[in-house]
């Protein structure tokens, strides 16, 4: 029966090639527009670290007060003195402060030019906390953090460039004219969105090539390569800057369960209370402890452009579906006499449903294939429309292929319900009589 209905469907589709082409085109364009923008939306709204996103927390305290903050939210960055106090207290099993820096890689060959490398100053816990995969070596030790050691973890890309991909652990690298010992080489890893540094990257940026101890970067007075905000004049010089209320650092802690999170939040509250007693704050407590997904949400990591595009494309798909409902209705009702004959010869309503839904499904598959081709073109073209850092995240992978086909067929079947119902309502006697 299935094969017969399928043949009938194909024959019917071939009878009105223009109408069929219109439907396939509408489905194809609607699905392609939606899937292309969805691929971008998916890339920007994804969970960057699904296995641990509920255990990683971003603490924030309000060191500025209501006068300098917006909508009652504490600042999303921290001062040096607060970060140091939280690190010293060590109330989380794993914790890291971090900030972006820029280092120049000085080549051994004096005739080649130094190159800027995007880098982060972090504590050793950064690597196990964020599941950073190592190819060679391991993170530096906690003692090396303490000792401001001149060590680095480098990316595979940088290792390929400088050491030809060999195991470079223990070898030396010249950064800004100082020598650093490589303690480990990691895969070309980046969290996407880069949740741990949303404030400076907006979530999307080129990957960092190296990581060095936070304590070392501070000792070298390395300025942040990202944002700095001061609500009052910090005074001259580096030491005054470190003592100031200027915010420029991120802090992350790993807390295994809800109880640990609750007690960490209590610790933050107690810390702020102490600071208030010492006369630093003159406003009520305002602390936040957000996990990864909450933090992404609070920082509005999905650009408005991405969301508006997705909504507009979905509206477009709805219009294409309305269009398809109309065309299918026209197509099916034109065959009312044929349906009348079939019904008179004993076909049940159910069989009519089956036959026409199958025909619609064929349109859906054809539309899906066209949609897939157009989605492929669309994903290739997103670079014209979205920021390059975001556009490169949009890919046509297996899951997107499956979703595209599924959406095309499901949407077409949905569109076919009403026309099919109308077709099944055809009264055989009336049709036979009028002909």
């Amino acid at each position: 029966m299935f094969g017969y209905y399928f043949q009938l469907g194909l024959r019917s589709l071939r009878r009105n090639p223009i109408l069929t082409a219109l439907m396939v085109m509408a489905i194809g364009f609607g699905v392609a527009a939606s899937m292309t923008t969805y691929s971008v939306f998916r890339a920007t709204s994804r969970n960057p670290i699904p296995q641990k996103s509920a255990q990683l927390f971003h603490p924030a305290i309000d060191n500025w007060g209501p006068e300098d903050t917006e909508k009652g939210e504490p600042p999303d960055s921290m001062t040096y003195k607060d970060v140091v106090a939280l690190m010293r207290a060590h109330k989380a099993p794993r914790q890291t402060a971090l900030y972006p820096i820029a280092s120049a890689l000085i080549p051994d060959d004096p005739s080649s030019l130094p190159q800027r490398q995007g880098a982060y100053a972090v504590y050793t816990d950064f690597f196990p906390m964020f599941d950073v995969p190592f190819i060679f070596g391991k993170p530096w030790s906690a003692e090396e953090d303490e000792g401001h050691a001149a060590v680095v973890v480098i990316s595979k890309k940088l290792n390929d460039k400088v050491f030809g991909g060999a195991n470079s652990v223990g070898k030396q690298l010249n950064l800004d004219g100082r020598l650093y010992v490589v303690s480990g080489v990691i895969e070309d890893w980046d969290a996407s969105p880069r949740f741990f540094d949303l404030v400076n990257t907006g979530g999307f940026d080129k990957g960092a090539q190296l990581y060095m101890p936070f304590t070392r970067a501070i000792e070298l007075q390395k300025q942040s390569n990202g944002n700095n905000n001061c609500n009052s004049d910090p005074g001259d010089g580096w030491d005054n800057y470190l003592r100031s209320e200027c915010i420029w650092l991120a802090m992350w802690v790993e807390l295994p369960d809800a109880a640990a999170a609750a007690s960490y939040k209590q610790f933050l509250t107690n810390y702020v209370d102490e600071q208030r007693k010492a006369g630093r704050f003159r406003w009520p407590n305002n602390v936040r402890l957000r996990d990864v997904m909450d933090f992404l949400d609070a920082e509005h990591v999905v650009p408005a452009e991405t969301q508006i595009s997705l909504f507009v494309s979905l509206g477009f798909l709805v219009i294409c579906l309305v269009n398809t409902v109309g065309l299918l209705l026209a197509k099916f009702m034109r065959r009312a006499p044929e349906i009348g004959v079939r019904r008179a010869l004993g076909a049940s309503r159910k069989e009519i449903y089956f036959q026409f839904l199958l025909e619609a499904a064929a349109v859906g598959v054809a539309g899906g294939v066209l949609g897939l081709l157009l989605t492929g073109l669309g994903v290739m073209g997103v670079g014209l429309v979205f920021e390059p850092a975001i556009a490169r995240l949009a890919t046509l992978d297996i899951s997107l292929v499956l979703i595209t086909l599924l959406v095309a067929v499901a949407a077409t079947l949905l569109a076919a319900f009403y026309p099919t119902w109308r077709a099944a309502q055809v009264q055989p006697a009336w049709q036979l009589k009028s002909n």
């Binding site: 219109l22 120049a104 300025q223 508006i308 507009v312 509206g315 294409c320 269009n323 109309g326 009702m333």
Partner: protein, 414 residues
């Protein structure tokens, strides 16, 4: 022509007519909002920065490994910057140059407040600071409408974390009007933050856009100040005006000259050397992309809707061949038949656009709440209505013409 028979006939095709009407309504709603987004973005991109953008470019350099704290370190960096500037200005392709923290649209904003009393904390208007010297006005091609330029002796070295508290300031006209609505800003004293030394306004430039086009700084995008300061830090940006027609040559010559002075520096490959056109393109990339995407959606959407109208109209014509034949046999002219189908389409389209206009405003209201978009002007909806009525009539024309060619003899066929 009587409209009643059309309505009676449509009631026999309720579903089809409603579907086409709905499609037209949705199309209008989306196209209006898309057009509105497109024009908003294009207007944004088209705003003049106030500087003469042709022949202008920037070179950003970074010099690692040097201390930046303390008097000796600062003096060394300042000497480096002076050497760099001398080397750049000596190049034959360079008209003028200065060192700065940032340029308009370069997306690195330094912001502060200008108070009118020494203790007025953050009550004055916000402003974005550009560091510059006596070459800045000429290099950027800024138009000084009042007052005077900086003098060389007024320009002091400035490190990254030094306080912005200059003795003189040149401000934009927008900022001057904000500070002194009655005019005459020249010679007035302002204070950059609490307990700051007094700053005297010595000049006003016609227009100067801040460094960022992001929403948070939109409210003071034109309230800008030029600080007499030589940005002497380990990373810095040189703003350079090439001689007319020599932009490409100068963009090659300057990095070479800088490397010749100090090979240890880094000029980033991807964005170290950028023409101002490049800076502008980067700043408005998202806006441009949005306009392109919305434009593409509009075109495809209108095509799909037109195709839908053609499809359904053709179907209706095919269904009513016999009735058309009867009307023709009873004396209806070809023109009568043509008009009938065009009127039928107009009726459906008008119904659709009326509903669509309401939907357009509803979608806009939702976008306003969600994404802080502006209110949709009625003109867009009117333009959309006209466009869809024209589109509907054009799409229905071919099927209607075919209908008018159905011979009266059809009446006898079954």
């Amino acid at each position: 022509m009587a409209i009643t028979p059309i309505i009676v006939a449509l009631r026999r095709h309720k579903a089809g007519a409603l579907l086409i009407g709905l499609q037209i309504a949705l199309t209008l709603a989306i196209v209006c909002n898309a057009l509105f987004i497109i024009t908003t973005r294009i207007e944004r991109i088209g705003r003049p920065t106030g500087i003469d953008e042709a022949n202008l470019f920037k070179v950003s350099v970074q010099r690692g490994g040097l201390p930046s704290d303390g008097e000796a370190a600062k003096a060394r960096l300042d000497a480096d910057v002076r050497t760099d500037l001398a080397a750049i200005r000596a190049l034959p392709d360079v008209a003028d140059a200065y060192v700065t923290n940032t340029l308009p649209l370069a997306n690195s904003n330094w912001t502060g407040w200008l108070g009118q009393t020494p203790d007025g904390d953050k009550v004055g208007p916000s402003t974005a600071f550009f560091l510059g010297d006596e070459h800045t006005l000429a290099t950027l091609g800024l138009h000084l409408v009042e007052g005077r330029n900086f003098r060389p002796e007024e320009v002091l070295p400035h490190s990254l974390r030094d306080r912005v508290a200059p003795a003189q300031l040149i401000i934009s006209k927008a900022l001057a009007q904000k500070l002194y609505p009655d005019g005459d800003a020249i010679g007035k004293t302002v204070y950059v933050g609490p307990s700051a030394p007094p700053t005297r306004i010595i000049g006003v430039v016609d227009r100067l856009q801040s460094s960022t086009v992001q929403a948070w700084a939109e409210s003071f995008a034109w309230q800008t100040s030029i600080v007499p300061a030589r940005f002497s830090f380990t990373y810095r940006t040189y703003a350079i005006r090439a001689r007319p027609g020599r932009l490409d040559a100068a963009m090659k010559a300057v990095p070479d000259a800088l490397y010749a002075v100090d090979p240890q520096r880094v000029i980033p490959e991807d964005d170290g050397v950028l023409s101002f056109a490049g800076i502008r393109a980067r700043a408005y990339r998202a806006d441009r992309g949005m306009a392109i995407l919305m434009g593409a959606v509009c075109v495809i959407l209108l095509t799909v809707t037109a195709a839908g109208v053609v499809g359904l109209s053709s179907f209706w014509v095919g269904q009513r061949r016999r009735q058309i034949g009867i009307r023709r046999a009873l004396g209806a002219t070809r023109r009568n038949i043509l008009n009938y189908f065009l009127a039928e389409n107009a009726l459906i389209t008008v119904g659709g656009v009326l509903v669509g206009a309401l939907m357009a405003f509803a979608i806009n209201a939702w976008l306003m709440v969600q994404f802080e978009l502006a209110r949709l002007s009625v003109n867009y909806v009117l333009a959309g209505i006209v466009a869809l009525i024209v589109l509907g009539q054009a799409s229905a024309f071919a099927p209607a013409l075919r209908a008018s060619h159905i011979p009266p003899v059809e009446a006898t066929r079954s």
